[in-house]
């Protein structure tokens, strides 16, 4: 939605309309799924896929370390969720691909994860395309230390068969070592903590390695073969004061990795060195027992630098974000509100870009009114301004407590995203960044990218059938009024596995989707939780490109999990998941083509590419035991017990049976 004319006057009018609309409390916006660790005994997160083990969400990974997520809002290639750790946003994503190495938290310390779709405001921070909120264990009093090591690999090592030239096979993928260490201290209301996180991973799977293998030859010495490992190191320091009237936090983290960025417009990986520096200052001051003000200042720097590779591909890209957020909140017995604004400047330095600066101002208001005990209304409105453009997100929800056992929520939302928010890469390319030319990607971009817009209506029912049984069912209808869908028609190449075809941003694509979910939780024993969930995604109508885009998301997902803590020092967890078939039309040129092994010492083998990922069923089993009075923990994760050979991305690794062992100490 682009407006001409006097920007200041128009912005003022919009602000007035925004508050007037809000006075009528129309909307609310989102669907939330969360999972808690029941205690420090049972960390839920062991790998990247665990972060999205939630009803209604999907993920895809090429390497088990990075991920594309779909909250149901805009798909894998649309705007990704906002990541938040203990109230502080962070960004582990590079051009849409989120890297778990750059999460400023060790997996197992994620005590609570909550995924929320749609738009909204959380702790004075607005989000527009879903939210992944991670909360850590609270800092313990006194001085605490922890250290952990994690290591694992897929099955399928060659073993003694390395000596048989006709039966030798490559070594398999290694996850690790992943090493974490940290110190925390808390005296009274004051605390401080530090974290060190190191992760290493080796790309060996033939489906991934062949693309990388040809990058490995050194550009300066053809006989020198470069490594296919990825390494990352993250350090974090945080201090804060948490009193009854004031909460202060200062946090800094720095993260670097030698990695491979799967660059979707290129249909393959580009070796790169990733860098993230982030500094945050947060203040929450209570003015009264039920009201206060929040402020958050952040400086974030992300960079993609050169990692030695055969083609000397180099993003040479650096982004700096300065953001300032301020809000006032009121948490009354019957009325709650959060009103505030964000001011964010984004500067990007990259070849071809000249003084690229985006200034986005956001105003937001979130309210909830309990009209009677059985009926409440909530609403969220956000408006974003950038130069002469603006975009709005409004949503509302009615909550009805029909009876003590039945809660009903009925909501609707409208989301609009500016092009620089929804498609920052294309926006930068259109402003001169010549990465596509550098990587020799033929591309066609529209002359102007329009706003992304969607409308959705949802309803949910929560049935508390008994004390130990609850059932949630819901459905959400979404009309994507206008989407811009990135599409790379990848080309098959025997030597390099893939080559980029023409990259386009398919403009103004529209269609309708329906998502239905059912989630049953059964707690037969205090120490045993069963959970079963079914998600059905369906495209009701839409352009051909729209229908093809959403086929990347499985139509059916069935999940079942059981957590059992038979004794205080032992935990068992079983996860089962069925995902139906998906089709990635970007890779239709590769369908049926052959992928081959590379190394001459192995018997020559072919693998067949497919643009379709068949349905698959997966079982993971996790066993953990504490020792030394909960100071030492050993854990074994057995992945893919059925040893089904499946992928979550047509060009990604094949998941096979694998294991991970972890040892954790805390003092």
């Amino acid at each position: 939605m682009v407006q001409e004319g006097d920007g200041m006057k128009r912005n003022l009018i919009i602000l007035v309309v925004f508050f007037l609309v809000h006075s009528s409390d129309l909307f609310a916006a989102d669907t939330t799924y969360s999972s808690d660790s029941d205690s420090t005994f049972t960390p839920k997160i062991s790998g990247v896929s665990d972060y999205v083990w939630q009803t209604g969400w999907n993920y895809s990974s090429l390497d088990r370390m990075s991920m594309l997520t779909n909250s149901g809002d805009f798909g894998f290639y649309g705007p990704q969720p906002l990541f938040m750790l203990d109230g502080i946003p962070f960004d582990p994503a590079f051009f849409g691909m989120a890297y778990s190495q750059h999460f400023p938290v060790p997996y197992f310390q994620s005590q609570h994860t909550e995924l929320t779709g749609g738009h909204g405001v959380r702790n004075g921070v607005s989000y527009r395309a879903g939210l992944m909120q991670i909360d850590l264990e609270p800092v313990k009093g006194g001085i605490s230390l922890f250290g952990s090591g994690q290591y694992g690999h897929n099955s399928g090592e060659p073993g003694p068969w390395v000596f048989n030239p006709e039966r030798v096979s490559p070594n398999v993928e290694r996850f690790g070592p992943w090493i974490n260490g940290g110190i925390s201290m808390k005296f009274g209301n004051w605390y401080a903590k530090g974290l060190l996180k190191f992760q290493e991973y080796k790309h060996v799977d033939e489906f991934v390695q062949l693309r990388m293998i040809n990058l490995r030859r050194s550009p300066t010495d053809p006989t020198d073969w470069l490594g296919v490992e990825t390494r990352s190191l993250l350090t974090l320091a945080e201090t804060g004061y948490s009193g009854s009237w004031i909460t202060l936090k200062l946090q800094a983290y720095q993260s670097e990795s030698e990695d491979f960025l799967f660059f979707q417009p290129f249909a393959r990986e580009v070796p790169a060195e990733f860098k993230v520096n982030q500094y945050s200052a947060l203040a929450d001051i209570k003015l009264h027992s039920n009201m206060g003000v929040r402020g958050l200042y952040q400086y974030r720097e992300q960079g993609l630098d050169y990692r030695l590779n055969r083609f000397e591909h180099n993003f040479d890209w650096r982004k700096e974000i300065n953001s300032l957020r301020g809000s006032f909140y009121y948490n009354g017995e019957r009325y709650q509100a959060d009103v505030g604004a964000e001011y964010e400047t984004t500067n990007v330095e990259a070849p071809g870009l000249s003084e690229y600066e985006q200034i986005i101002t956001t105003a937001f208001l979130q309210q909830k009114l309990q009209i009677i005990p059985q009926f409440s209304v909530s609403a969220t409105t956000q408006v974003q301004f950038s130069d002469e453009e603006y975009a709005i997100q409004v949503g509302g929800e009615f909550q009805v407590r029909a009876n003590p056992f039945w809660n009903i929520r009925l909501g609707a939302s409208y989301t609009e995203l500016l092009p620089e928010v929804a498609h920052p890469l294309e926006h930068q390319v259109m402003n001169g960044y010549y990465i596509f030319s550098h990587l020799e990607i033929p591309f066609e971009l529209p002359g102007q990218i329009g706003n992304t817009r969607k409308l959705s209506i949802n309803h949910h029912h929560q049935f508390d059938i008994q004390d130990d049984v609850s059932l949630n069912v819901g459905a959400e209808w979404t009309r994507h009024i206008s989407m811009n869908i990135p599409f790379q028609a990848a080309i098959y190449n025997l030597e390099y596995s893939t080559m980029p075809g023409t990259y386009t941003l398919l403009p103004e694509i529209s269609g309708e989707r329906l998502k239905a979910t059912a989630d049953l939780q059964f707690v037969p024993l205090r120490n045993m939780v069963h959970r079963a969930a079914v998600t059905v995604n369906s495209t009701l109508s839409g352009d051909t490109e729209y229908e093809a885009y959403w086929k990347m998301i499985p139509e059916f997902v069935v999940q079942y999990s059981v957590d059992y803590t038979p004794f205080s020092d032992v935990n068992l967890a079983l996860n089962l998941q069925y995902r139906s078939e998906t089709t990635w039309s970007e890779f239709s040129n590769l369908d049926g083509e052959l992928n081959r092994t590379f190394h001459v010492q192995y018997p020559f083998r072919f693998f067949e590419f497919s643009d379709t990922i068949p349905p698959h069923f997966n079982i993971d089993l996790k066993m953990g035991k504490w020792f030394l009075g909960q100071r030492l923990r050993g854990e074994l994760l057995l992945k893919n017990l059925l040893n089904n050979d499946y992928q979550t991305h047509p060009l990604g690794i094949r998941e096979r049976f694998g294991y991970m062992a972890r040892v954790e100490m805390r003092f």
Partner: protein, 195 residues
């Protein structure tokens, strides 16, 4: 088929008795074992195993017993020069003992571990591609044993175990085992570590 048979036996045995609770970590059992690979597939066409030995530590848990252990075997090459290797299996597991009488018990359980192989030499293809002489892979085992208590502190046992190592070409083997177990009252220190 072997796996299915053993799993079925274990499930049948488990279904036919009441699981008994007990005092966790009340004693420590140290077992010396001798073992012989009775039959197997794939690897045995090119490598010949010798008899092996091992040791195990186990302790009662609230239900069943927790254990950790080590087993060694030597595999001599039949086909490929200098490809003989030492096999080291490190594992942990859980088992349950069914007391048939005061002296006799039947124990069955599962183990998870890693099979480490140390070859006599590295394998090098051409002058460039080198496989380290150290290889390892995940390995699980189902075991069943008959125990006889000679004295309050000493037991003997004979047993069998089905082991599967998940190489690219998986290796399954049936072991016959026999050994001697020494039982001790656990110390406070040991209990503190285990709890």
């Amino acid at each position: 088929m072997i796996r299915i048979t053993i799993i079925t036996l274990i499930l049948l045995a488990a279904a036919n008795q009441n699981i008994q609770g007990q005092e966790a970590f009340s004693e420590v059992r140290f077992t010396l074992t001798g073992n012989k690979l009775m039959s197997g597939n794939t690897l045995l066409r090119s490598w010949e195993p010798s008899e092996g030995f091992g040791f195990e530590l186990s302790t009662p848990y609230h239900v069943g017993n927790l254990e950790a252990g080590y087993r060694y075997l030597r595999f001599n090459e039949i086909d490929f020069e200098n490809s003989g290797f030492h096999s080291h299996y490190l594992f942990f597991g859980w088992n349950y003992s069914y007391a048939a009488s005061d002296e006799v018990a039947l124990a069955y359980g599962v183990r998870f571990g890693k099979q480490f192989m140390l070859h006599d030499e590295d394998m090098i293809y051409g002058d460039e591609y080198r496989f380290s002489r150290e290889e390892s892979e995940f390995s699980y085992e189902l075991q069943m044993r008959l125990q006889y208590e000679i004295t309050r502190n000493v037991e003997i046992y004979i047993g069998t175990a089905y082991n599967r190592t998940i190489f690219n070409i998986p290796f399954a083997a049936f072991y016959g085992t026999a050994g001697l177990t020494f039982k001790f009252q656990s110390s406070q220190w040991f209990r503190r570590v285990m709890e």
